[in-house]
Symmetry: C2
Subunit: 426 residues, 2 copies
């Protein structure tokens, strides 16, 4: 089997390395020889890892996509263009495709899947969500008969690293971010990670597979972590919670029909929740199903080798399908119906800055009550100019929470609505 | 697709329930209707769950195995006989088979696999190891290109429940066992769980799949937990360890060749190890690979519904293979070469009972040193008649450890070699 590799960055180079190291044992186990015949790069003169055979490098995509000898195309370039057109061209010429491109899949998965079905070839993308963790295939095959109720994941290593440092070393957000950048866990421009867009792309793919619906990037509600403070983290810790950036897909009953909620947001998790112990750049996905109960998948969600390992699993699967003349079976999918955010319910954490004088709490509590939000616990942090009231509420609708905050903002004694966060139950 | 069900106990009945609840959505997703046409039982008159259609029940195995209309046979009876002959007869008549029978697979997997290959049908068994956790397919497909170094699992819920209670409530072994029996986590005759035989059967299957070798039940070295005491658990806790019954399969370098070590034993795990937080009847499998790094799979390892969920995943996979005229690809396997126990190395925990008088420790320590075992820490617990010395060693060969214990037994001042346990590093 001949493989054409599109891209030779971190993941592409690691993929070559794995094939050099394990090619013989793979051949022994599956009875098939895998060989990289060409590698598309932007710059022929850039320095490469020593195991890269530079004779395979080309800057001409057509020499890979148009090569009838190549059976499988592996796309690890990232970005939408020209990845999308190269993947489509490869499929049209009868090649199976393995991609790690989450941004592309979150926008165009369904067209690409349809094309693959038409031409009778595979598109695999285990590496696009949670790196080396074998999640996509588990959801597509093993759990396809399961009625899942909720999938909750930590799918962004950068933000999880930052939040872990804030919790364990009491760092401020900016300090933890700087540390992440220094250690290579965050990019120079970290916005895609911090604002939750990276996690949102993964949430779209994940929920499409888990719930059999067509969920796209724009269907995902998305909040990032960039305005979290050390005080939020400290309060959460003291009350037995850990703050994590969560990608959550859940079935929700809404006006007599089943809908899907797909969201990325920073949440307070009880320290006893299995996701709470997922530290630093690790990823984990917690799956709840009616029959199977609770499952968790844990591992490295990024990095060249773990991601390339997932690519390799897909390449072997595609190679075997080509060998046996079969393809991955298509799963039928419904158009998604997303539930409106304001109908969702949860417990909330609310932090507001107030004037430190008698009677303020009574006024504030009255507003919560009038808006139908019941307070579970309250604490004043700081004094005078620094005075801050922090609340944990019982379960309430997002709509009621927004109404509460709007009404609180009208009070003279409230200086600033600092923030609200959702709380996930154990 | 017509399914013949062999057995209607806990798992069989749960399987019927899942198909009743989810049959429509499964049909919608995979485009295939699954229908149970007959159910083999021992006793037609026994009371059944209300969702069981008693008209499907039969006591005649031949009416299922010999029915040309039946496409897939699901075996959930357990025991070796008549399961083995029914599975073989089903395959010979062109049916695919799904089984949850770990005892059978640990003895006869390779013959059954070979037969399935000859007749071009599937044998799937996701439910045989770690219940509802999608582990087997992940190892067979997603991770087949990965060079795994070690697989470490908590695969027996009964012993994990008992150990959790001993740790968290300081119960004696007998008290924790009685609690497990009262709550239905342990059987009236709990020996297969306590002595590690159940875990050993799973370790054989797991290591066969993970390492591509033919590992059978008798290749697995096996120690149980029945002589663990509250004192062992208390010492472990105090030093930052948790005692777990571990099924471990690892690649080991031995006399210039790669061998496999497959063992079940109670071990001290650092509290920071991901397996340490696996509580009660949950299962988890920790996988270490060269490229993928560390992975963990966590979920319910037993119980009717989780196990039946795994069976359902397999049935759907088999149904789609039949529909598309393909089968699961065989993986080639080598005969296993197991490394001799005494060549393996680890840190050890050693507890001995001694006469409480001056000079004893010096004598004991001398023996350790002469046998080449280096002591990392020592503690005396209790006084007088109760005096006990507890050691943690640095890494040593099992051979040296056994020599040490033999030599210690010769000392007058040593009353009893209480036990030794292995310590797994973080």
């Amino acid at each position: 089997m001949k493989i054409g590799l599109l891209g030779c960055g971190n993941v592409g180079s690691a993929f070559v390395k794995i094939l050099i190291d394990n090619g013989d044992s793979i051949k022994e186990r599956i009875g098939e020889n895998l060989e990289i015949s060409k590698i598309l790069v932007r710059d022929l003169n850039r320095e490469r890892d020593p195991w890269i055979n530079t004779e395979l490098l080309t800057t001409e995509a057509e020499s890979i996509v148009g090569d009838p000898e190549i059976d499988i195309v592996v796309e690890v370039m990232g970005d939408l263009n020209p990845s999308k057109s190269l993947i489509e061209a490869s499929l049209r010429r009868g090649k199976s495709v393995v991609t790690a491109n989450k941004a592309l899949l979150a926008e165009h998965y369904f067209e690409i899947e349809e094309l693959a079905e038409q031409v009778g070839r595979d598109v695999f993308f285990e590496a696009a969500v949670a790196g080396g963790i074998p999640l996509i295939r588990s959801l597509r095959v093993s759990l396809v008969g399961e009625r899942l109720s909720r999938v909750t994941g930590i799918v962004n290593g950068t933000t999880n690293f930052i939040l872990t440092r804030m919790h364990e070393e009491s760092l401020a957000f900016e300090e933890a971010l700087a540390m992440a950048q220094r250690l290579g866990y965050a990019e120079a421009d970290p916005r895609a990670d911090l604002e939750g867009y990276d996690a949102a792309a993964k949430a779209a793919i994940l929920s499409s597979i888990a719930f059999g619906m067509k969920v796209r990037f724009q269907d995902v509600l998305c909040e990032g972590i960039s305005n979290l403070t050390a005080k939020d983290v400290e309060f959460a810790s003291r009350h037995g919670f850990v703050i994590k950036l969560i990608a959550e897909c859940a079935r929700v009953q809404y006006e007599n029909s089943q809908r899907l909620s797909v969201r990325v947001f920073p949440a307070l998790l009880p320290a006893t929740h299995p996701l709470s112990s997922v530290r630093d750049a690790f990823n984990a996905i917690f799956v709840e199903g009616e029959a199977v109960g609770e499952l968790m998948f844990y591992g490295r969600g990024a990095g060249g080798l773990p991601t390339a390992s997932a690519v390799m699993g897909d390449v072997i699967d595609a190679a075997q399908n080509l060998h046996y003349g079969s393809t991955e079976r298509r799963l039928r999918r419904r158009e998604v119906k997303v539930v409106p955010l304001d109908a969702l319910e949860s417990n909330f954490y609310v932090a507001i800055e107030v004037a430190d004088k008698p009677g303020v709490l009574a006024k504030v509590a009255t507003v919560f009550g009038e808006c139908g939000v019941s307070i579970a616990s309250m604490e004043q942090i700081g004094l005078g100019e620094e005075a801050r009231l922090v609340f944990l509420t019982h379960s309430a609708k997002e709509r009621s929470m927004v109404l509460t905050l709007d009404a609180l903002a009208q009070l003279d004694s409230v200086r600033k609505i600092h923030r609200y966060l959702r709380v996930i139950d154990g």
